[in-house]
């Protein structure tokens, strides 16, 4: 792309040159007709003046008359002839040819004599019976016009060059704030995301700097989120490791068999939970890294439901929870990949089983209407408030009542997996008690 400076400069210079040329053309055309007019008037005045001398006969003492002219070259070119009515040349000025300058009719005429084009004024004096012809060559007229144009154009051309230089400097100076902003951004370190602010920045540039500041703010927020994620992940990973190590220390040092058995059981439990945490972290990383793929796949809910039931078999048994698929849901086909649906459903069902009451049902149902398709997972627990649930779609955020196992990743994974398929989650606390999470795809 052409530089802003060159662009501005070219625009201003072209516009100036155009205006200037139009003015010059107008001046030249006007001047040319003015010159013609002035010279014609001079020819006529000269003819009248010569006639008014009341010249009678060939008196050698009377010199040929020429009108006073400033320009010597013009003076030389102005010629005069006096003819008798009988057709005899009475007198002529030094520069005049011997042949008549005009055919004899009064007024202005043009004639070529010996290859030179003349413009002539012929005056017939009825009192004296003489014809006075005063003429000048067209060459001298052309010379005058050429001189005038040259006199106009040369200073204009010099002026245009000077103006261009001044414009170049001016444009440069005018664009200095752009360079300053660019230099300020270039000089920054990769982690310096302080806003540029608005002090010392011209109004025309503030939309640009505001946009840059907006980007800075978003990047800062993203970095803070990533940092928070890392801190939370570190805590979530290192806490079970600390528990493992502590119980291993106890098992190694204690001589009491009961204490050792207890610690070994804790180690086993801790390994299970750490493994689940690692799996969830990997699931989340995978879902967040997935590209959007709306509606490209078709997965029967029934198939994925069976997988989830199988995977959570021991948890279901431990909590004595029965997982049910409603008849419409068993016929449902969802526009989402099998893997994404598995992640979403497993984590939603797992949450329902863990946080809902034991000895109860968790129901997976269908949502089908003219403009949406999806599924819901329902338990009989107290659930979360809508705000709390929304917050829990961020990793490592847990509900206020959440205690014990869990790291706050389940809803985040479900959210990421569903979002990739263009599905959104909504939350509903049921009366008298119960909690339903609905995931739908809006059909447009």
């Amino acid at each position: 792309m052409i530089s802003l400076r060159l662009r501005l400069f070219m625009l201003v210079v072209t516009a100036t040159a155009l205006v200037w040329s139009a003015a010059a053309t107008w001046t030249v055309l006007g001047a040319r007709s003015d010159i013609e007019e002035v010279l014609d008037r001079r020819l006529r005045e000269a003819a009248h003046m010569v006639a008014s001398l009341n010249y009678s006969g060939s008196d050698p003492a009377v010199p040929a008359v020429a009108p006073p002219m400033v320009d010597p070259s013009y003076e030389r070119q102005l010629s005069c002839q006096i003819w008798s009515l009988g057709g005899n040349l009475v007198r002529r000025s030094g520069s005049a040819p011997a042949t008549p300058l005009s055919a004899g009719q009064p007024g202005f005429s043009e004639r070529t004599i010996n290859g030179v084009r003349w413009r002539v004024y012929t005056y017939l004096d009825p009192a004296s019976g003489l014809q006075v012809m005063v003429g000048d060559t067209l060459a001298v007229r052309q010379q005058l016009v050429t001189d005038l144009i040259a006199g106009l154009l040369v200073p204009a051309a010099v002026g245009l060059v000077a103006l261009a230089a001044l414009l170049w400097l001016g444009v440069n100076r005018g664009l200095a704030p752009v360079r300053q902003v660019a230099a300020a951004i270039t000089a920054r370190g990769p982690s310096d995301l302080q806003p540029l602010g608005e002090t010392g920045i011209p109004a025309e540039l503030t939309p640009l700097t505001q946009a840059i500041d907006g980007l800075f703010a978003r990047v800062t927020e993203l970095r803070a989120r990533e940092r928070q994620f890392l801190a939370s992940a570190a805590h979530e990973m290192q806490t079970p490791l600390a528990g493992l190590k502590t119980h291993a220390d106890i098992a190694l040092r204690s001589s009491d068999p009961e204490t050792r058995t207890h610690s070994l059981a804790r180690i086993s439990l801790s390994v299970d939970r750490t493994a689940r945490l690692v799996r969830q972290l990997l699931d989340l990383a995978r879902q967040e890294g997935e590209a959007q793929q709306e509606g490209r796949q078709q997965t029967p809910l029934r198939t994925v439901f069976a997988m989830v039931e199988h995977e959570l078999e021991s948890l279901l048994a431990e909590r004595n929870v029965t997982l049910r698929l409603t008849p419409p849901a068993s016929q449902l086909i969802l526009p989402i990949s099998e893997e994404a649906l598995l992640m979403a459903l497993r984590n939603l069902v797992e949450n329902a089983v863990i946080y809902g009451p034991g000895d109860a049902d968790v129901i997976v149902g269908a949502v089908q209407s003219a403009d949406s398709v999806g599924f819901y997972v329902e338990d009989q627990g107290p659930g979360l408030t809508a705000d709390e649930a929304q917050a829990c779609t961020q990793p490592f955020v847990r509900g206020q009542r959440a205690k014990g196992r869990g790291s706050g990743l389940g809803l985040a994974i479900a959210h990421a997996a569903l979002a990739n398929a263009g599905m959104t989650m909504s939350f509903e606390q049921l009366q008298p008690t119960g909690f339903r999470i609905t995931a739908v795809l809006r059909l447009s």
Binding site: A234, Q238, T239, A242, G243, T246, D249, R253, L269, K403
Partner: protein
Amino acid sequence: MRVLVVEDDEILRDGLAAGLRLEGMTVDTVEDCEDARAALPSGDYEAVVLDIALPDGSGLDLLREWRRQGVSVPILLLTARNFVEDRVEGLDRGADDYLGKPFDLIELAARLRALQRRALGRAVASIQVGALEIDPALRRVTIEGKEIPLSRREFAVLEVLAEKPGHVISRSQIEDRIYGWQEEVGSNAVEVHIHNLRTKLGPGIVETVRGVGYRIARR
């Protein structure tokens, strides 16, 4: 030495309690800020082990809150290992020490004893009262170089008395220091421990101040 552990992870909390008890400490555990606020004034704790990420708030905020209220008990923070600013912030907010997870139980116990020692203004690890020498780390008691075998409770009672030689400590103060909440305390348990200590250490070391409590004679 009585310690309050504030940790939300059930397995780690349980491990800390069992591990520190192995080190001869009396341990109470809570799992969130709310319970910690309630627990701290109720027990005569000599140290608090405080996790940073708790379900109902940040351990760092709880720490600052306690320090503003004038709580002076030594506090050791449990932090994730690679986050230096957590430690810096913790120390700035009034923590006395920190330990990155995962950690060694022995190191944790040693740091807690060091905090206790510092709080009592003692420079050396062992307590020396006349011919009696008590080493809290090894839980070893010697008189003129001869080792006296003591039970965990007997040692704990002796430690409480030896921290302030010559000061009279009441029976309930001793109970507070050596028993956690969940533990059953028999009505004459402290008397029994004192009796046993006298038998094992010999006469003239543990004195009874009638109607007030017990003390170790400063010689």
